[in-house]
């Protein structure tokens, strides 16, 4: 799938009305709401964000299975990429996961002690796994990218060793949905159960796009940078 689906001359308000899910991207890129009739280009410029980069993210978010080709990656300014990825990590860890956990605690009140223990333990281990995965990226991968972007040779890491673990992270969320859907005793399937499933589906979808950005944008982009800066 290719082609740019959005035009930066279009009004930002129209874009967000058509694809409300994109407010998440606005938030992570520090693009404030209240943009009146300004175009996408104008809103981005006002906040020092590249409209091309913003639209690349919009394409990935709204078109399932979309991956940019090499040419588009090369011509898109990527200064905002690492900050964006860091923001998304914070969004999962500081906002979404605590929210899900809160609901799970409510559900657990309706379960026997042994079952609630094992359910909450599942989630605690999951959170730990997410935290470790993100920490690896934030401490090793992102600083490497930032050094390359400043034109510094950096041999501490190679993007070839980028370990993709999001698949596993998505699997576990999907397991949690299955357990709540199919296997919880009836008395525990309260409104909280519905809320938590809804929440998880949203996070799963977001996490899926997050891995597309890392695999299909970050990895090829950094490969290219490594070649340019380190000459191989």
């Amino acid at each position: 799938m290719k082609a740019i689906h959005y035009d930066s001359g279009r009004k930002m308000s129209e874009l967000i009305t058509a694809e409300p899910g994109l407010v998440l991207i606005l938030q992570r890129m520090g693009l404030a709401l209240g943009f009146g009739d300004k175009s996408i280009e104008q809103v981005c410029a006002q906040h020092g964000v590249s409209a091309e980069f913003f639209l690349l993210l919009c394409d990935i978010y709204t078109h399932e299975g979309f991956a940019p080709d090499r040419e588009r990656i090369l011509r898109t300014p990527m200064g905002q990429l690492v900050p964006y990825l860091r923001q998304s990590h914070d969004y999962y860890v500081l906002k979404r996961l605590p929210h899900i956990e809160h609901h799970l605690h409510h559900i657990a009140e309706h379960l026997s002690e042994r079952v609630s223990t094992v359910l909450l333990r599942f989630f605690t281990l999951y959170k730990r796994e997410v935290a470790e995965h993100f920490a690896h990226e934030e401490q090793l991968v992102f600083p490497h990218v930032e050094r390359l972007q400043r034109g510094e040779r950096d041999n501490t890491y190679r993007i070839d060793s980028f370990v993709e673990e999001h698949g596993d992270l998505e699997d576990k969320l999907s397991d949690l949905v299955q357990i709540i859907f199919k296997y919880l005793p009836e008395e525990a399937t309260t409104d909280d159960a519905v809320d938590v499933v809804y929440d998880i589906l949203q996070v799963s979808n977001d996490l899926n796009r997050h891995s597309v950005i890392e695999e299909k944008v970050l990895v090829p982009y950094v490969k290219q940078l490594e070649q340019e800066v380190c000459g191989r």
């Binding site: 042994r114 079952v115 223990t117 094992v118 359910l119 599942f122 281990l125 999951y126 596993d168 699997d171 576990k172 999907s174 397991d175 949690l176 299955q178 357990i179 199919k182 296997y183 919880l184």
Partner: protein, 195 residues
């Protein structure tokens, strides 16, 4: 109606053995086997099998044989094949396995393909775990590896793999941690067995 099985395998001995074995199971109709992989795509179209039993070392991509058809394909294994490759199959049959196990794997693969996971609540009988699968599930939940489970149950690691695949298909749960929760919810294990 009988389940039509198409064997794609170059070795005459293996083909003959497999045919003999499957002929004894009345629910199978064994189609004329394919010995040359180059004929495979053509024969899949012509003979309309319900399940294909294929030596995984013969092909890189299943689409080379299947085209755009959706058919269950079971790997026929008698030498080392990477696990990664086997994951693309709907089941794994090791020629050293018993007739019963081989038949079970073929039937499971065919049934699974005929009844793709339904999101609604009613659970057809085919979604209940078998006694063997339950045994495997309990050991998985306890944190044992495939190899350890195989040793404990006296079956091949391939059989364990195929049970695990069925468990994932039937429960909809992929991770070990998730299966542990499932096992607890169904009173198959208790806290003391958790590590």
């Amino acid at each position: 109606m009988k389940t039509r099985v198409l064997i794609i395998e170059p070795s005459e001995v293996v083909v003959a053995g497999m045919c003999t074995l499957l002929h004894e199971v009345s629910r199978f109709k064994v189609l004329e086997p394919v010995r040359d992989i180059r004929d495979a795509a053509q024969r899949v179209i012509a003979s309309r099998p319900d399940v294909v039993l294929l030596n995984p070392t013969l092909v890189e991509n299943l689409t080379d044989v299947l085209g755009d058809r959706h058919l269950p394909v079971v790997a026929l294994v008698y030498q080392y094949v990477e696990q990664l490759k086997l994951r693309r199959y709907d089941g794994v049959v090791d020629i050293r396995e018993s007739r019963g196990t081989i038949a079970e794997t073929l039937i499971a693969a065919t049934t699974a393909a005929a009844n793709p996971a339904q999101p609604d609540g009613d659970t057809p009988a085919g979604y209940e775990l078998s006694a063997r699968e339950t045994a495997v599930l309990v050991l998985v939940a306890k944190g044992l590896t495939n190899k350890e489970i195989a040793e404990q149950l006296h079956v091949s690691p391939h059989t364990v793999m195929s049970h695990r695949k069925n468990i994932v298909h039937k429960t909809g749960i992929r991770s070990v941690a998730g299966l542990t929760v499932y096992a607890m919810l169904h009173n198959l294990i208790d806290e003391s067995t958790l590590i």
